[in-house]
Amino acid sequence: MGTALWGLLGLIYGQVIELQSGKPRLVTFPELGSKRPLLWVALAWRHPPAYQELGRIVAFLVAQEDTLNPSSAALRRQLGNLGGHLSLWSMPEGAAVCLTVPRRAAVEAVSWLYAALRALPLQDSLAWQRLRQRAAKAWTGFALKQEVEWLLRGSPLLPPSLAWPQALAYIQRYLAPESLYVIFGGSLSFREKFQIGRLPLKIPLKPVSDSLPSLAVPPIPDTLIQNLWAYPGYVGLLVEGPLNWKERLAFREAFLSRWQREAPPLQWSLHLRDRTHLLLQARLDGRSYAFLRRLSTLTAQDSLEAQAWQAAFELFFRKVCAHPEEYPDLWITPVLMGDTLRLMDTLPAQVWRNGWPFRARGVWIGNETLALDTLVSTPPPARPPAAAVPDFLWTGPGLPPLGEWAAAFRLFWKPPCRRPCELSAYYRTVRERKRLTEYLHQLRLELIRTHQIPPEALEIYLRPLPVGFPPKAIRFRCFRC
């Protein structure tokens, strides 16, 4: 049985999920094709947000990171001979073990992942102890980053008593074969699917429900912390993004483009997080810090910026499709959350003009040197908002709001402007034309005399009534100079 969720128009991408009885679900992205030299394969599972760190340690276990264990060392040697490159992923949505292998080794890669699952210890062992210590050591030297993660999640990174029974309960609850996904960054042939379907995977894991204590994750407060060691500044923020996946990528690129242009940070990382958020962590100077504090909307200020954002988005889209292994957030998160990933390589220009609100909350770490930073003492000159091009339609009753039209005109009009604005009316029959022409002339005179619009800036047009257009409409419209 398969559930096909793909788009057939142009460059819309979607995943295909195929169910296998008693085995992980196979997820492919057919539009990524099957002709690349390498194939990215991820074994992924869901878990609640509070178990992100535990998921990371379990991913170490699955990935056979404990090379002091002879069977793990043998599996890693086997992976090396396969030509596989291993990476791990753990986020609040779930965790994954990812392989990048030569294209022809797709079936062998899945076979290796199944062998790694079969080799999971189901009793307390030294492997677990070693990996737990290793996970704690991984934060050595990154105390600030650890503290920020802790504050963002509202709980310590590692549960206070992380004993083996809890890890076993996690494995039994979330790593049962039917709960797993095997995600491919491309498509598979029928032969490969058939061979994968025949690979053995019998693990004595009984699905267990509710044996793990539920750790509630409180909402993230917006916190400002003074910290001398954070010079110059450090932020860990959850940024609210658009709801659909294609606009999320556009939002990401628009934000990075604006940020790099106006106040580039010293270091940054940006990850997609759940359905709506992006996790931003950055080291900043004073100017960049002030930029993030001030930013409230992300809208292209002119066509140049819109074009730059579109170009950045196109480049990012092509990179994401060429090297899916570099962007596991994008390919794994929607699968785990049950969303259909639909992407397009271009977006309508209106998307950039409409823009998005920018709301970021989380942990802001700075100190008084940020205020002394000479880069922030004179804030950059605010760019004047681009005046909207007047385009008004009046359908009555009564007189049109000439004052409002004139105000919009004065804001917009900058001589020398070659093309005058139009005052238009629409006729249905020839007999209406004379009356409408006189009416338009009256309105024009009123605008010139009372509202001081230059005569050369306004012309009158009479047009046939288009289908579906209101009959008594008067239109005032200007054009970009």
Partner: protein, 332 residues
Amino acid sequence: MFSLLSLWAQALCAYTQETGYVQWLLFHPLEHGHGEAVARTVVEGLFGDSVLRQVAYTHGVRYRFQRRGQWVCLEGEATPEGLFTLFHVLRGAIQRFPQRLQQNAIPIAESPPELNRGFQIAYEDTLPVDLSPLALTQYFTRYWQAGGVRGVLRGKIPTPLLHLAQEIAAGGVSELYWPPQPPPALSSPAHQGPGVVYIRWQLSGSPSLAVWAALWQQADALLHYLCAERQIACQAQWVPFMKGVELWIETGLPYATQQAAQDFLSRPFCPSPQRLPAFFTWLHRAENFLLAGWWACLWQIPQLPTAIPTLSAKELQRAARGWQLIIHTWNL
């Protein structure tokens, strides 16, 4: 299927692959490793041209200046359309540069200390250099006008882009492109503290895919040994050159790292065909995408393999006899 036929053995190497975007590199050597400040000033001045900056911004072209060993690299990524526009405008910027220099419109560039310090110390390139307009003009003329710059493209490369890139990397001043000498060693042994361990594989014969595969196995095994087994150094930069490759390993324990590297490299080495899939994966991974193209270009390897190479154990062992090793250490 991928067609990886390239234009090579000239000033421009192009490795075509259906990725949808293209990574690009313009590079040239520094004579005796000196003059990074001049190179940086000229490149940043060139790319500070307002038209070029505007085009790079509106067409989403990413670029950065980097020094790698004796090489000065200007690398980036873009869509083919964006890169075509950028190279088109770059031609104009090259023509405008002398006039901008005359009008004092070129600021002196600052070198980010943490990135290039190891290279500067290794080549004794830390002394102030002449940044007068005359020096900048001579440098600019030699590399950017007389065709001293070479290029590498990897990814989606339409024919118009290829032709335009050939005009930028025109090929000339070939006397600059000799295998560089290793950096001069410091007389005193390294003490503890941040340092660099330099390992150089110097080929005695001609480069080939078999030599590349064998050399990579040894170097990769060394890096795994230092990082995973000994846990003393995990950051390294590959810097290929015409008859070999250098590995610049950053470490906080330079003496211990040097000893460990010497121990490892003195063991008998036997390359295995079983590691060829790992080599193939390394060639095509995103983080080595441009590096692999650059390496192949410098070694004049016309194609990057589209499938796992079929090399026998004997071929690899014969290839592994064809290099010498040099190890140096410096403190930062």
